[in-house]
């Protein structure tokens, strides 16, 4: 414990170097821009900018990329409040009360509340990471293949059972991801599979290409279809408004705390920031005395989803750091970055790459603080970006996506793949197939399969190995509970005689 605190201070020393501070500011600025622009979000924004970090040290690289992530989380709030357009899925719930506040001329209050709650949520989650992640990692060091597989199993089952999409669509999307991950060289036996004679497929599908296509191109196509025209509210933020709002915010400490807890829980179990923000909003609405007024510009209705979304977005990095299992697509991209920089994600990271891990954790504290200051001072600038017409923004984003896809492996074939993924992403979004499980399956497919096959090899093909000791059995049972959560929850409420609420 004490040692961890020492490590953390060492991490701060790494982060405070001028070059790293500069990267932090650049990262936040890029992140907010990415969060504000349609078609670019945390996951594909980081995927596109990843090649820029190839020549940096891993610590500097992760500082910049994670700051892009914080920036994107902040940026989503700006578009929700001022334009009633959620820049990111997790800020949909913020529009419910944020935009009405802006319409009433209280945009400054809404934005201040949103940014501050984001900061509080993130800070809470970082503290949780600081305290819990080293313990989890230490615990996980003793995991064998069966335990590793059970953790993957739990992560994927939570997606199916806890997601709001139809479970069988989630299953289909996830399994297609696994199948795509299997294409190419089989890492265990070294033989080729599923390439059907195409040499382009030897190395399989890179998930970065999938992320850029599915989220970037797909989003542009959706926006085109909706024919969005941005009509924003003026953004007036001045120090007086900020201070006034800060005086008011402590009153909502209960909402904040509850949202932090919901966010962390949803972030660590890979449900993600979007359901966390909705759930937190829903619960706040039910509990609050002013619940009836939610939707008409209630400040609590901004605090609750923003706190939860940031807490979830941040705590999604916990399993990524401690176990090598990312909790969100963006965390998955960061994990991909780790591999490219030559680091092996997983519990050993805490032993072998202390500088890196604690530098990252320290940068989470500082990055969010820097982010809060930047967004509070630069809102008009970011709002101006949104006023650039879509017919200028769209082709530029298409070009940037193409460059991002090309630079991953210097391959033109990848750019074509990106386009295919883009069209697939558009169709999937329109028909309610979730994208996140597919991306995570592409990232983790090989590792999950390896763990599965190694366990079977050790047991001689007996599936009982996944229930052979207390630990692995517990995780597997948790996974099964998560998988059938929908069924269990409805059975439970029927048992108690409560009418099912939709």
């Amino acid at each position: 414990m004490l040692e961890d605190i020492g490590n953390l201070f060492h991490g701060f020393a790494v982060v405070i170097q001028p070059f790293n501070i500069l990267l932090m500011v650049v990262g936040i600025l890029l992140g907010v821009i990415i969060g504000v622009l349609p078609g670019l979000g945390g996951a594909n924004g980081i995927a596109i900018l990843l090649p820029l970090t190839f020549s940096m040290s891993p610590t500097s690289a992760i500082i910049m990329l994670s700051c892009i992530y914080w920036g994107a989380l902040f940026g989503g709030a700006i578009t929700s409040v001022l334009f009633n357009i959620p820049g990111e899925p997790w800020s949909v719930a913020t529009t419910f009360d944020g935009y009405p506040m802006a319409q009433q001329g209280k945009a400054g209050e809404a934005l201040t509340a949103a940014f501050t709650s984001s900061f509080v949520g993130a800070l809470f989650a970082v503290i949780v990471i600081t305290l819990v992640a080293p313990l989890v990692a230490q615990f996980a060091l003793e995991f064998g293949p069966a335990e590793k597989f059970s953790v993957f199993f739990l992560a994927f089952c939570s997606f199916i059972g806890m997601g709001k999409e139809p479970p069988f669509k989630t299953v289909a999307s996830m399994m297609i991801g696994f199948a795509l991950a299997a294409v190419g060289l089989d890492s265990v036996t070294g033989s080729l599979r599923l390439t059907f004679g195409f040499t382009e497929l030897l190395n399989g599908f890179d998930f970065l290409i999938a992320v850029i296509g599915l989220f970037g191109i797909g989003e542009i196509l959706l926006t085109m279809e909706e024919g969005l025209s941005f009509k924003g509210k003026a953004a007036g933020i001045n120090p007086r408004v900020v201070l006034q709002t800060w005086m008011e915010l402590p009153r909502y400490w209960m909402v904040s705390l509850r949202s932090c807890l919901i966010g962390c829980w949803m972030g660590i179990s890979p449900a993600g920031a979007t359901p966390a923000s909705f759930m937190s909003y829903g619960i706040a609405q039910r509990i609050s005395k002013r619940g009836k007024n939610f939707g008409n510009g209630e400040i609590e209705g901004v605090v609750a989803p923003e706190t939860a979304a940031h807490a979830a977005g941040t705590s999604a990095l916990l399993p990524m750091l401690a176990l090598g299992v990312p909790g969100s697509p963006t965390a998955a991209v960061l994990l991909g970055g780790l591999l490219i920089w030559g680091l092996q994600p997983g519990p050993l990271l805490f032993v072998e790459q202390k500088d890196f891990v604690w530098g990252l954790i320290a940068s989470m504290y500082l990055g969010n603080l820097v982010g809060l200051i930047i967004v509070l001072t630069c809102v008009p600038l970011f709002a101006a970006i949104l006023r650039i017409p879509f017919s200028i923004i769209a082709p530029i984003i298409l070009v940037i996506c193409a460059i991002g896809a090309y630079t991953v492996h210097n391959s033109s074939f990848d750019v074509i793949l990106m386009m295919v993924f883009g069209i697939v992403g558009y169709a999937m979004k329109k028909t309610g197939y979730p994208l996140a499980p597919m991306v995570l399956a592409i990232v983790l497919g090989d590792k999950a399969e390896e763990a599965f096959r190694q366990s079977l090899l050790a047991s001689g093909g007996n599936l009982g190995v996944f229930f052979s000791n207390g630990l692995v059995a517990t995780i597997m049972v948790l996974g099964l509970v998560a998988l059938f959560w929908g069924v269990i929850a409805s059975a439970w409420s029927r048992l108690r005689g409560v009418p099912k609420t939709a």
């Binding site: 069988f168 399994m175 299997a182 089989d186 599923l194 542009i220 082709p395 074509i416 090899l457």
Partner: protein, 160 residues
Amino acid sequence: MATDGPPHRSVEIAVAIICLIFGGITIFGSLSAGIGWGAEGPQSGFFPFYIGVIIILSSLINLKNAWALDPQPLFANWGQLGQVLAVVIPTTVYVLVLPYTGIYVSSIVLITGFMIWLGRYRWHTALIVGVAVPVAIYFMFEKWFLVPLPKGPLEDWLGL
């Protein structure tokens, strides 16, 4: 017309069928890689084979659910789909010609064309933006971050 378009149900059914086919391809590929037990434990096709089976099963359920949908609601009207195609077609051409023209020339054409065609900008405004962005990208990627991008005949001629 504007209120006409493909029904949502048909698209859902089509997506489920494409997933089915995908599952079939996965199973077929796995079978040829071997799905049994080899010298090094499970063979290469072992894991993807069962993945393929799950894809088929879940797609069948999705297909059944899609079948039961109300055929009335539209997926999108033709006008909206036209807008989508107006992005898909030029971008597809863009990614296909990219290896031959290099990224800069094709990007200039894409951005300028997009602005004139869909944004109804005057050609000189469009050309300024269309040239400025690739130039900015050139300096950012090739000069600052030292990441080479694909180049074509024009860049060779300019000696870049």
